[in-house]
Amino acid sequence: MQISRQQMLRAYRQMAMIRAFEERLHVENRTGEIAGFIHLYAGQEAIAVGVCENLTDRDHIISTHRGHGHAIAKGCDVTAMMLEIYGSRDGMCKGRSGSMHIADLDKGMLGANAIVGGGPPIAVGAAIASKVKKDGSVAVSFSGDGASNQGTVFEAMNMAVVLKVPKVFVFENNGYSEHTGASYGVGTEDPVKRIAGFGLPVWEADGTDFFSVHEAARQAIGHARDGNGPSAIYAEAMRYFGHFEGDPQLYRAKGEVDALRTGNDCLLNFRRRTTDGALLEAAELDGIDRETADTVDEAVSAAKAAPRPSPEAVLEDVYATY
């Protein structure tokens, strides 16, 4: 389907924002100011944005430990996210969550999730809510190749099929589950066939091509909205950074990422396709690159200056204070 100019610019902005956010965190993390674990999504932007550009605030998504990209794509505020990652009192989750649990219920973002495989069953529940309330919303879960081997994910796939709920399972194969290759941990030679075996229609997309993911998601989400039940999207795109920031990546061949960055980068692919086809001007995209860099820059400055939580806040939002 033809995507409007407006939509393309918006999609590029979202992808560029994620990239700028992640590249900057990679640098900032080395200052030692950021606590805890950081898992970066750079390289996979086309998947989060290709899917979420088909969703509205009413739709729900649930993410993973590698959640920044999904959160930004779903419309979460970049500054509030940055404040959360820095642990500020004014962060998106009051500094209690950090990178791994960022959530904004108003945006239909049910959270990053640090339990691998924790998300898909929860998204089935959000899809049940849609069915009961007849509000036309769709629930989407994102899961990695590693997560795709977790029992909870298999259960959720079967249950979604049994209940015929408006749910889309997005599987992102980025080649690795921590230090282990997907080719080892995912037993099947054909992950798409495995998903289809659960009774889910599967749309396969090129995870480095926004247009491919967007089209797959349009169909899968449309399928759910039309009352035809759950389905899946399968896409491959490698991550550019380590599993977590600080990962020495011994499992990875030297030069693998450089080759991806120059040869098959989703932002460059988008740029080439839209400018070669005279759909967008390079200057417009350059402008977006500058704007997103500025936004992230402001978010980091704000996060560094933001108020810290007070110790008493440990016992806020609990029902018993002992």
Binding site: F37, G87, A114, Y184, G185, Y251, K254, P311, V314, V318
Partner: protein, 337 residues
């Protein structure tokens, strides 16, 4: 005695026990790491905290098993392998993931021996990293031993030093019952003297770390070191305490604790878990029931609050009992007469 980190002490035990007994296997996620990776490097991780480093090279893929992310089946497979005659040591990266595999621990491993008329042996060890200290947030920082200690049929070890880690893991692997072995992640890099050669510490024997007159302090895992710091300061002001490290919460050495309270008359328990249905509450209950007449003052429990462990540095610091807080509470207790 050589000095080494807790990580290295644990690693040494795994090498020793795997050499000693061909039935010992290890399994878990990234236990060697690198399988299916593009560099072709095996042992790219050696376990997420490096405890199983190097095993793959000596013992090979049959006994050093990298698994998919499937905690229920990791523990379940360990259980089955144990019933069929092996001595599996399963690794669950973070103790919080016990939520994913609880059935295999709680309804399966813990009950085989009893349910099967005493005929089953389940020599399985489930190692997990636990605790706060890395700002890893609500799903990666919990201590979990209270709920595991509550399960009949499980043994639960909570080492606080490299030496205890060596002695307790050796016992755990040789034990014929399921053992949950909790390694505090803030202690992996901590160094200490470790006895050479074969070294096993019996379960259910607490360590009397220090002797003193004014109070009995019981401290678990990371809290032992915090209590020692507090007691160092207090010693300068003439306050001395017995310091007891239970080392295993199941079985628990309540005898040594009550014996000590009989001498000191005061009890302080330091526990990183939330306060209710905790080990602190359990020890307090035991002493109230069996040593009430020894007590000169109410029992003091120093615990985390009844909340999940939060992420931000300030919040995590406020959550975990600190040496300062331990010192202040002991001081107040002793001053109270």
């Amino acid at each position: 005695m050589p000095t080494m980190t807790m990580r290295d002490a644990l690693n040494e035990v795994l090498f020793n026990e795997m050499r000693r007994d061909p039935n010992v296997i290890v399994l878990g996620e990234d236990i060697s790491g690198g399988a299916g990776g593009s560099s072709g490097t095996r042992d790219a991780a050696g376990g997420i905290f490096g405890v199983t480093k190097g095993l793959i090279h000596e013992f090979g893929e049959d006994r050093v098993i990298d698994t998919p992310i499937s905690e229920s089946s990791i523990v379940g497979a360990a259980n089955g392998a144990a019933l069929a005659g092996l001595r599996p040591v399963a690794e669950i990266m973070f103790a919080d993931f016990v939520g994913v595999c609880f059935d295999q621990i709680y309804n399966q491993a813990a009950k085989f021996r009893y349910m099967f008329g005493g005929k089953a042996r389940t020599p399985v060890v489930i190692r997990m990293s636990m605790g706060a200290g890395m700002n890893a947030g609500p799903q990666h920082s919990q201590t979990v031993y209270p709920m595991l200690t509550a399960v009949p049929g499980l043994k639960v070890a909570v080492p606080s030093t490299p030496a205890d880690a060596k002695g307790l893991l050796t016992t755990a692997i040789r034990d014929d019952d399921p053992v949950v072995f909790l390694e505090h992640k803030a202690l992996y890099a901590r160094k200490g003297e470790v006895p050479e050669g074969d070294y096993a510490i019996p379960f259910g024997e607490a360590a009397l770390v220090r002797e003193g007159a004014d109070a009995t302090v019981v401290a678990i895992a990371r809290m032992r070191g915090f209590a020692e710091r507090a007691l160092d300061t207090l010693a300068g002001d003439g306050i001395t305490c017995d310091l007891i490290d239970p080392r295993t919460t199941s079985p628990l050495d309540d005898e040594l604790i009550i014996e000590s309270v009989a001498n000191t008359g005061r009890l302080v328990i330091v526990d990183e878990s939330p306060p209710r249905c905790s080990i602190a509450a359990d020890i307090a209950g035991q002493v109230a029931q069996n040593g009430f007449h020894h007590l000169k003052a109410p029992i003091v429990q120093i615990t985390a609050p009844h909340a999940p462990p939060p992420f931000a540095r300030e919040l995590e610091r406020a959550y975990v009992p600190s040496p300062n807080r331990i010192e202040a509470e002991i001081r107040a207790l002793v001053a109270g007469g």
